[in-house]
Symmetry: C2
Subunit: 430 residues, 2 copies
Amino acid sequence: MVDIATRVWNHKWKIDPIVRSLIDTDFYKLLMCQSVFRNKPDTQVTFSLINRSKSIRLAELVDEGELREQLDHIRSLSLSRGESTWLRGNTFYGKRQMFTPEFMEWFEQVKLPPYNLEKRDGQYELTFEGSWPEVMLWEIPALAVLMELRSRAVLHQMKRFELQVLYARAMTKLWEKVDQLRPVEGLKLADFGTRRRHSFLWQDWCVQAMTEGLGSNFTGTSNCLIAKNRDLEAIGTNAHELPMVYAALAEDDAALAQAPYDVLSDWHDEHDGNLRIILPDTYGSKGFLDNAPDWLASWTGIRIDSGDPATGAEVAINWWKSRGEDPTQKRVIFSDGLDTAKIIELHNQFKGRVQTSFGWGTLMTNDFRGLTPDDALLPFSLVCKAVKANGRPTVKLSDNPNKAMGPTDQIERYKKVFNVGAQDKQEVVV
Amino acid sequence: MVDIATRVWNHKWKIDPIVRSLIDTDFYKLLMCQSVFRNKPDTQVTFSLINRSKSIRLAELVDEGELREQLDHIRSLSLSRGESTWLRGNTFYGKRQMFTPEFMEWFEQVKLPPYNLEKRDGQYELTFEGSWPEVMLWEIPALAVLMELRSRAVLHQMKRFELQVLYARAMTKLWEKVDQLRPVEGLKLADFGTRRRHSFLWQDWCVQAMTEGLGSNFTGTSNCLIAKNRDLEAIGTNAHELPMVYAALAEDDAALAQAPYDVLSDWHDEHDGNLRIILPDTYGSKGFLDNAPDWLASWTGIRIDSGDPATGAEVAINWWKSRGEDPTQKRVIFSDGLDTAKIIELHNQFKGRVQTSFGWGTLMTNDFRGLTPDDALLPFSLVCKAVKANGRPTVKLSDNPNKAMGPTDQIERYKKVFNVGAQDKQEVVV
C-alpha cells in the first residue's frame, strides 16, 4: 500500500528541516548554557563558523538560499512542552533536576538570535553575535546544517539505486565497526557525532545500530533529541568555549593564567561525580595540570581532545599519581578523531591502569569514506567557535598547534602566560 | 507518519505469500506449456523435488505447516485479468500473440493440481502428479517456496538491525557485481534467478538494480511477473523437461534416439528467430549435435547449461562451421552456475567469434555467501524435475555426470543410445 498521506505530506514541505528541535544539540551545550546563564549571563560574544578543510568549497556546493532557509527555520524553533518536560523531569548522570527552574523558564522562551551570512573565497562566513547564553546555542545546529546541506548537495546528483546502495554500504561499514567493537570487554562508548553528522536521520540510525549491536557497552549519545526519542542516556560535560571566553574576559595576564581554573571552580560549585571532568588542553594540558589547584585532583576524570591521546592519558595518570590520587579510580575520556582501531588500541593499552570512555564523533556518524567514486562525501573539519567576548578576541592553543585559533599576537601572549613550549603537530582530519 | 492501514494489513495476513501470481514463474515455462498443451496434452507426468545439497536438511529447517500453507496458497491462484491481458497483448521476442487464444482460454481457468508431501531423512519428498501441462507449472513456484522458506527460517533468528545490515550487505554485494559488469561493452545479460531466489522481494530489487546499473546491457528477466511489473522483456525459450519427457515416451531405442529432435521439430513449427535456441546437453551435447538434422543448423543459437562452458561454446562454434554456418551470426547462451568473473571471462573469450548472452541465476538472486556469521544462507542446489511420463522413468545425462538423473539401468541404456562416452565431472554448486 502506498501511504498517500505521507507522500502528499512530503511534497508539502517548504523545506526538509535539518534541525528539528532546540534539543537536537549536544547535552554539554545545555549544561554549559546553564552555567553561563548563572555565572556570565551578560557577556557579549561572537561565534564564527570556520572550515579548516579549505579544499571543501562550501559556498560553491551549498546554495545560499537553502542555507538561509535552514538557519531561519532554526530561529523559528522553541522548546516544546515534551522537550521541556524531559529536561525538567529526567535523571541526568544520576541526578534529578539537573536544570534549575530559573534556567528552564529562560530556556522555554528562548529563540536563537540573528545570524550574519556572507560568501568569501568559496566559503561561507557565518557569524552570530549577542549574549553568550543565546549565541552559544547556535554552534551545534549551525554545524549540523552545513554538514547536512553538503551531504544533500552530493546526494542530489545520485540515481535511485545508487542512493540505496550508498546507504547500504554505509550501513555495512558501520556494522563492521560494531562487529569490531562488540568483543571489546568493558568498553564504554558514546556517540559524540552530532556536530559533524552526515544527516540527522543517519545519526539516529547509527545510534540505534550501536544500541542493538553493543548493548550496555554503548553508554548513550550526546544528542539530547535522540537520547529523548530513543530512551538513552544524554552524555557530555563541558567544552573549550568556557575557558576561551573566561580567558578573553581576563583583565591582565595574572587573571588570564587563572581563568581556566575559574571555569572549573564555577563548575565545581554546580556539579559533582561523573560531571566533574577536566578538559585540560585549551592552553596546553601539561601546564594546566602542573599549576592546577589541589581540589581539581579530586575530580572524576580528564577528557583528552587534542594531541596524541595515549600521551595525554599518560600525562593524566602521572598527574593523578603526583597528587596522591589512585588512577584506577579515575576516568580518561577520549574524544578526538577516534575510529575503531584507535578505540580498541587505547582501551587495551589503559585497561587496569585507568578507567576509559570514548566519545566517538565524526567517524561514527559521518564515515562515508570510499563509498562514492570520487569520495565526494569525505568528512571535513568544520568548527563553530567563540571568536570574541566583550569585544576581545578569544584564543585556543590545544595540544596540537594545527588546532590553534586566534590572532597571532594573542597566541604568542597566551603561550607565554601558559608556559607552552614546543608542541607536536598532528594532522586534523575531522 | 506511521501508515496505520499498512501496519494493520500486515498483521492481518494469514500467510505472507511467497508466490503471489501464476505468472511468478519463468517465461520459458509458459512457452513450453503451450507447446505441451498443443502437442502432448494427455501425457501423465510426475514431477519431484530433489535437493542435491544433502547437508541442507530442509525438513528440519522449514516447518511443514508453513510449507503446506504456501503450497495451498499457490493452488488457490488463478490468472488475473491483468496478467491475461499482458500475456495476450504483449510483444514477446518481437512477436504479437505469442500465446494462442486456445492456450490462453485454458490457462485462464487452470489451477495447479494437488501435491504429495512427506518427510524422509530430514528432507521433504514433494511430488506432483497429473497431466503434463498442469503439473509442469509447479516446478518454479515449488522451488521458489522452498528456497524462500529456508531463507525465512534463517532470518527469523535475527534481530532488527542485524536484518537491516544483512540486506545492506547483500545490496552492497550485488552492486559490486554491477560495478564489475558495467564496463563490459556489448554485454547481454538477463535474470534467470527465479527458481533459486532468496525471496521474491529480493529478486525484484536485484532486477531493478540491474536495470538502473547496466541499462540496455541488462536485457530482461525470465520472471513474467517482474517483467510485467517492471516493464522489462520476458526472457527464455525451452528446457530439459521437453526432451526428457519425449524420451521417456519413446517406444524403442530408435524412437529414443530421435526424441530430442522431435522436440525441436515441434518447436521449429511453433517459433522462429531468437526463440529457436537449441539446448543440446540433455543426453550429451556432442552426440546430439553430431547427429542433428541439417535444419537445426539454421537455428539462431545454442544454450550451454552443463559441462565446461567454454568447451561447450567451442563445440557449438565448430558444429556451426561444419554445417556451413557463420558462427558470428549465431548466439551462445550461457546459463549454468554463472557469476561475474565467469561472465566477463566468457564474454571476452568469445567476443567477435560468436554472439553471447548470459542467463544469470542463483548467484544474482541468492548470493548471501559470507553475509551471515555461519553462512546459514549459502545457496544450494534444489531442482524439481519430471521423473516419470506415462508410467516410465525419465532420464537426464547432461554434460556433467554429477547432474545425471534417473534409474541406473536407464542411464546406462540412454548412454548407449546416445553414444555418450567419458564425461568430465564438475562440482554442482547451484
